[in-house]
């Protein structure tokens, strides 16, 4: 039987630029390559020689969709290198800012990027022609997330207020009151979104991947934590390089990560499946409404998990605002010292790891960043092989559309993934 070759040149409704290459031979998918052609920007190289205060702002420019994740993982790593850990209201404010990014990024993916797939529209504009109220509700929710980031960070894309050790300025309790009012309205909207997306038709598909997510005692992981996997591993961020190894493949400017030699998945499915018992009461109610079990292995249902996480981010934001007392100072003193620090946090699309080595003047001598999409690339390619093998009856256009959906299930951030890892470099 002759071979069949399918190329999707520009994958739509994802952040960044990717191409898909599928090779079918003798009735089975021989190879699925997610080809990331996003130009490399060499962040780890240009961070060398910068002061320990600079990586949060510089690395946020890796991704305009999840800048708070970059700023937070960078701060976590640099504070660890300097022997500082935030606590009390400063730690709460960082988590609160991060809730804003979860609300905004998930609302964007659910409504603008993912839902059109389930309802047969090419984009949100067409979707809005038939379901205007639903789109307006989604945009309102997204706007609330952005408003929270603007309040605490100054702006929603590349916020300016976070720094190593805390913030440049912190709000008074009264400044947060109007935001709480707004979040109470958002909680109802978020619950309605869960009901809406849980009524979609989901293809039957269970993925076999190992899951990896951050973990924190007693609460759902967002802004920090240690690392846990569904294979039973639990380790601090500092041991991440011992378990996760990245390799370069010729077809991509993104590196592929492996967990003890196997591909694995990070992101909402992993986070939820490893931590669903730690959701708050409103999110748990939404889970029951949606009929989700304690784990979710169907990547098409990730839209429901994201909607549940929006409910959680809103209720968590309300809880943090409720107990907030303005700290005496907007940041703690961080004195640089020679050494290496590791930091993780849960970006909307999965665990984001940073590592920095500082010299005794506080300059960066080496940096490594492992974004979620590099970690997920091998798992996404595996999903593509399985899903495409099962549906080779489709014509090329149908198969291409299905493959794009399989990719969008994971909300890949291709801009992020084009930044590489595995460097142990000494400063020139």
């Amino acid at each position: 039987m002759s071979g069949r070759r399918l190329v999707v040149n520009a994958i739509a409704r994802v952040e960044g630029e990717g191409r898909l290459h599928l090779v079918v031979r003798d009735g089975r998918v021989e190879r699925a390559e997610l080809n990331i052609y996003e130009p490399p920007r060499f962040f780890e190289a240009l961070l060398r020689g910068r002061a320990y205060t600079e990586p949060p702002d510089i690395t946020s420019r890796i991704c305009g969709i999840c800048p708070v994740a970059y700023q937070t993982s960078a701060c976590n790593a640099l504070e660890a290198a300097c022997g500082v850990e935030l606590s009390g209201p400063l730690a709460d404010l960082r988590r609160l800012l991060y809730c804003g990014e979860w609300i905004s990024s998930h609302a964007l993916h659910i409504h603008l990027l993912h839902a059109p797939d389930f309802l047969g529209f090419p984009d949100v504009i067409s979707l809005a022609k038939e379901h205007r109220e639903i789109v307006e509700r989604g945009l309102a929710l997204k706007k609330t997330g952005n408003a929270l980031m603007e309040l605490l960070g100054g702006r929603a894309i590349h916020p300016v207020n976070m720094r190593v050790g805390g913030f440049y300025s912190v709000p008074a309790r009264a400044d947060l009151a109007p935001m709480a009012e707004r979040l109470r309205g958002a909680l109802d909207q978020a619950r309605e979104v869960v009901r809406w997306v849980s009524g979609f038709d989901f293809p039957d598909f269970e993925l076999p991947h190992a899951f990896l997510a951050a973990s924190e005692p007693g609460r759902y992981p967002i802004d920090r934590g240690t690392v846990r996997t569904s294979t039973g591993l639990a380790f601090p961020a500092a041991e991440f390089p011992e378990h996760v190894v990245e390799t370069q493949v010729p077809h991509s400017t993104a590196l592929h990560a492996r967990l003890d030699g196997r591909h694995y998945l990070t992101g909402p499915l992993a986070r939820y499946s490893l931590n669903s018992a730690l959701l708050g009461p409103a999110a748990r109610e939404a889970v029951a409404d949606a009929g989700l079990g304690p784990q979710c292995r169907n990547p098409f249902r990730s839209i429901v998990v994201r909607a549940v996480e929006v409910v959680y981010a809103v209720e968590e934001a309300l809880r943090l605002i409720e107990r907030y007392e303005r700290p005496d100072r907007p940041c703690v003193e961080v004195t640089p010292r020679a050494g290496t620090g590791h930091g993780v946090s849960e970006a909307p699309r999965g665990l984001l790891y940073h590592r920095y080595t500082l010299d005794d003047a506080g300059l960066v001598t080496a940096a490594a960043i492992v974004p979620p999409t590099s970690q997920n690339q091998a798992a996404i390619e595996d999903d593509l092989c399985r899903m495409a093998s099962a549906r080779l009856d489709l014509d090329d256009a149908g198969l291409a559309a299905l493959c794009e959906r399989v990719i969008r299930n994971h909300d890949p951030c291709i801009s992020c993934a084009t930044h590489f890892l595995d460097l142990t470099v000494t400063r020139r």
Binding site: R13, R41, I65, D123
Partner: protein, 256 residues
């Protein structure tokens, strides 16, 4: 009447500036009623062929393929507007222009031979004529809407090219440099953000790039008085608009 068409293009960048268009939550649906979004891969699976009335271009030129692609985009676009620091000055990735890109590639990739890249990151205007440039890392949402409305109405946008200081004063903010001794690039940076950083008691770090005729030489002694060492001054001018000539001169002179 023909509905004008809008296209959005991405080169080397973080997606943040095109995301600004999707962050116009209150205006997005109204805008979609006024223009036809003909090409915007981040937002739509529909990709209509050109020509396009207005193209928004994000990102800088860093690969041989993109050098070719920007020519095509220009040919297909009646009006070409660059959005953000990458497209107008080369972005943070233009730090390679002052280093050795081969060394950068081998520092990041185990097999740099698979990586196709140019030695420099250059703005769109270095390759094709540009009709209008929007500054910022990221751009400002209101400036983006003003600019789109202007081109739809057939006029040129009217945006300030004065300094961040003018916006800071207009907001009635206390000067962080005078009051706190906090180094601030506001006096030499183009307005447009609304003086966000000083409103958070932080000094401006120049993400909108140099204003028209910036007097950087007059600012340097004040930065030194605020306690900045030469290498720190070099670094603060070498960030998101590192290759903008007025900033590059300072970062090179202060010995980065």
């Amino acid at each position: 009447m023909d509905t004008p068409t809008l296209a959005v293009w991405k080169f080397a960048s973080c997606d943040g500036c095109q995301l600004t268009l999707l962050d116009c939550e209150d205006e997005l649906l109204a805008l979609a009623g006024r223009v036809r979004i003909a090409y915007f891969t981040e937002a739509s699976s529909t990709m209509l062929p050109g020509p396009y009335d207005v193209s928004l271009v994000e990102g800088s030129i860093t690969t041989p393929e993109d050098e070719r692609r920007i020519q095509e985009v220009r040919e297909q676009s009646r009006v070409l507007v660059t959005i953000g620091a990458c497209a107008t000055s080369g972005g943070i990735q233009a730090l390679r222009n002052f280093g050795d890109v081969a060394e950068f590639a081998s520092a990041v990739y185990a097999s740099p031979q698979y990586i196709s890249t140019l030695a420099t990151s250059t703005p769109i205007s270095a390759h094709v004529p540009v009709d209008f440039e929007l500054r910022g890392c990221p751009i400002d949402r209101r400036q983006l809407l003003d600019t789109l409305c202007a081109f739809l109405a057939g006029r040129k946008p009217d945006l300030p090219d004065t300094s961040v200081c003018t916006e800071c004063k207009r907001r009635g903010l206390t000067c962080v440099m005078v009051a706190d001794g906090t180094p601030c690039l506001g006096p030499v940076t183009q307005a447009g953000c609304g003086a966000i950083c000083p409103s958070y008691r932080r000094g401006c770090f120049g993400c909108f790039g140099p204003m028209a005729k910036p007097n950087t030489q007059a600012l340097l002694p004040i930065l030194r008085t605020c306690g900045m060492a030469e290498d720190e001054i070099g670094r603060v001018f070498a960030t998101f608009n590192a290759a903008a000539p007025a900033f590059a001169v300072v970062s090179q002179e202060t010995g980065r």
